[in-house]
């Protein structure tokens, strides 16, 4: 798969079909990959595909000028489609290099299972439904559904539907909805007061780094409400109340755009379970409007259009 990717990416640049390639190259720490954004065909030699290509690369599309060849897992492809739906990018300007994705390994889960820090692990490898972690020469085996990111366990589209070049064979979706939704289910069982207390605690440690917003492909506003001063919707001071309001408004703003890619939660440096909010909103949108973002590029963006009947309903 990697060889094919490198060839295709190189050819795209050589034949001047794209100005940029966005993909992944090896990261500087164990078990990491890092985004590679380049116009240099020689760099394509470094492109990789492995279970640690965690970033949603669609996030870079709105900030780049020119035509882009982009490596896309299923979730990335949905974000790309969502951006097309919202008219933020044009289909013709992207060449989608589709990666059939078997799910990404969540190092936080691995650390918990192995009882060790990622620094202490010698190796993590995947073979089908098993993930093998090697620590001090000892091998430990775990079931795949214990080790993947929650959003991967809920993935509805592991292989992009919309693509230009397909790298490898599409695999079946392996949803483990129950496992992936455990945190949310627990929260829903709790009493409202308990839930309130839970989120109050969680947002007390938010430092307002805005990584959740900046890593989110659906957060593409050029001026975010959080930075408005007249009126000032929230204080830029990291008080839990303001932090919570920030995140709630953000969730409302990406409703109908969020594809449950899980990036917000993954990047949060203080471990706030942001996907619980995002995923819940995703479910609500589906329930109310039978709409899933990023599935169909022809579909009109949910929150940016209305039907005649809706308007009549609203203004009668």
């Amino acid at each position: 798969m990697e060889q094919k990717l490198r060839q295709e990416a190189k050819a795209l640049l050589e034949q001047n079909k794209v100005d940029w390639i966005i993909g992944f190259e090896p990261g500087s720490l164990k078990f990491t990959a890092t985004p590679l954004i380049t116009r240099d065909k020689n760099d394509t030699e470094r492109l990789i595909i492995n279970p640690f290509i965690v970033n949603n690369l669609a996030d870079f599309l709105t900030g780049i000028k020119g035509r882009v060849g982009i490596v896309a897992k299923g979730c990335d492809s949905r974000s790309i489609i969502s951006l097309i739906q919202d008219n933020k990018i044009v289909r013709e300007d992207v060449v989608i290099l589709a990666v059939p994705c078997p799910g990404l390994i969540d190092l936080v889960k691995i650390e918990r299972l192995a009882g060790k820090d990622r620094d202490e692990l010698d190796d993590i490898s995947r073979d089908g439904d098993k993930v093998t972690v090697t620590v001090d020469g000892q091998k430990k085996e775990f079931a795949i559904n214990q080790t993947l990111f929650d959003h991967c366990l809920a993935c509805e589209l592991p292989t992009p539907q919309e693509y230009d070049i397909l790298l490898g064979e599409p695999g079946p979706p392996a949803p483990e909805l129950e496992v992936s939704g455990q945190n949310i289910a627990k929260l829903k069982e709790a009493l409202p007061a308990e839930r309130w207390e839970f989120w109050q605690n969680e947002f007390s440690r938010c430092i307002r780094c805005y990584a959740c917003r900046n890593a989110c492909p659906a957060c593409f506003c050029q001026r975010c409400f959080v930075e408005e001063t007249e009126p000032q919707w929230v204080m830029p001071v990291p008080r839990w109340q303001d932090n919570l309001i920030f995140q709630i408004i953000r969730n409302i703003h990406v409703a109908g755009r969020c594809t449950d890619c899980g990036e917000c939660e993954r990047v949060c440096p203080v471990n706030i379970p942001l996907r619980s909010l995002a995923r819940e909103m995703y479910g609500i949108v589906d329930e109310l409007f039978s709409f899933k973002s990023g599935m169909d590029k022809e579909a009109l963006p949910l929150m940016a259009h209305y039907e005649q009947e809706e308007a009549e309903d609203l203004f009668k």
Partner: protein, 345 residues
């Protein structure tokens, strides 16, 4: 005077004793993230961690947010109500050498450059008790940045892991005084001291990430206008605040007033030069483009700080590498800054 030592299992007792006199802070995950927190009277599980806290100890002295003062609008103008005097005497236990050095670097800004009463009132009365690292992480590069996993330079007391005990190095007068008043410590033997020496060497050699900072100030100066280099360097950065807000040497802050009717509060909170709004002015933003902001971050640490204080404002703690959502790695960037001749073209 010979060094003292304390048994690992006696650490809780020691902290208990110090709690009588100080507000004791220690690494904790209780809040949901590894940070320095007021010690709860029992948890010493941090002795088994070897990764540094996610939130650096600077947060105790320069908190993510604080009230500077309150004010009321009266008939004759504003009435200012200063915050209550900070009477806490803090003891910060388990500070890693990289973060201790970072505190010394922050002092340069908050004490030498100008005197910040909020920072200094907390800082001056505090005691730092260092904890030597035994297992540096992959992202640690302290040994290239003027410190090391067991460096005692910037703390009052330093603890070195010698197996069942910690050897206590008494560094400052403040530290010595505290030890003199502390009971239950054992005297260290020659053998213990030999063990400590060995432990230091072992830890030092375990830091594998190296960074050559030779001539970096001049290389950055020469590359300042190398737009192509900076654009390439900044390409994957998403302009979040992680690497700056959580850097132990970053100190930028924002000031905001909140006013309801006739009363208000002035807040100070962490800010980051990575945010586009940081330099936004009514007509102009000199760092609108991302590459200019990334350049600012790198140059502030590796060029401007050395120019002002003769020290690089990076201690190799590795947080920015480990926590960055895109694995933007400062050591790779510093290494790739073109040499003078190349930059000139």
């Amino acid at each position: 005077m010979a060094d003292k030592k304390v048994g690992k299992k006696d650490i809780a007792g020691l902290l208990e004793q110090w709690s009588q006199q100080f507000a004791v802070f220690a690494p904790s995950k209780e809040s949901g993230v590894a940070a320095m927190a007021e010690w709860d009277g029992k948890d010493i599980s941090f002795l088994d961690w070897y990764r540094n806290t996610v939130v650096p100890p600077k947060a105790i002295f320069l908190p993510p947010m604080e009230e500077l003062f309150r004010f009321q609008k009266g008939k004759e103008g504003y009435n200012i109500e200063p915050p209550p005097k900070d009477k806490h005497k803090r003891l910060i236990f388990g500070v890693r050498p990289c973060d201790a050095r970072a505190m010394a670097i922050l002092d340069m800004t908050f004490e030498q450059a100008l005197e910040d009463p909020y920072y200094l009132s907390r800082r001056k009365s505090a005691i730092l008790v260092g904890l030597g690292c035994t297992n540096p992480c992959e992202s640690c590069f302290c040994t290239s940045m003027g410190t090391s996993p067991t460096d005692q330079t910037n703390v009052d007391l330093m603890l070195i892991d010698i197996g069942d005990d910690f050897l206590i190095e008494e560094v400052t007068a403040k530290g010595k005084e505290l030890i003199a008043k502390t009971s239950g410590l054992k005297g260290a033997t020659k053998e213990d001291e030999a063990k400590a020496k060995q432990a230091k060497e072992t830890a030092y050699n375990k830091v594998t990430r190296k960074l050559d900072t030779e001539g970096i100030k001049d290389r950055l100066l020469a590359s300042f206008d190398d737009e192509e280099f900076w654009e390439k360097t900044a390409a994957k950065c998403i302009s979040c605040g992680i690497c700056t807000l959580l850097c132990p040497t970053c100190y930028c802050f924002d000031i905001n007033d909140e006013m309801v009717k006739q009363e208000g509060t002035r807040f100070r909170s962490w800010d980051s030069c990575g945010f586009p709004n940081y330099t936004k002015m009514p007509m102009e933003n000199p760092r609108q483009e991302k590459w200019r902001r990334v350049r600012q971050k790198v140059c502030h640490k590796y060029e401007f700080y050395p120019m002002t204080f003769n020290v690089i404002a990076c201690t190799g703690c590795g947080r920015c590498i480990r926590l960055c959502p895109v694995n933007w790695d400062i050591t790779q960037v510093i290494e790739s800054v073109p040499a003078r001749t190349e930059a000139k073209k």
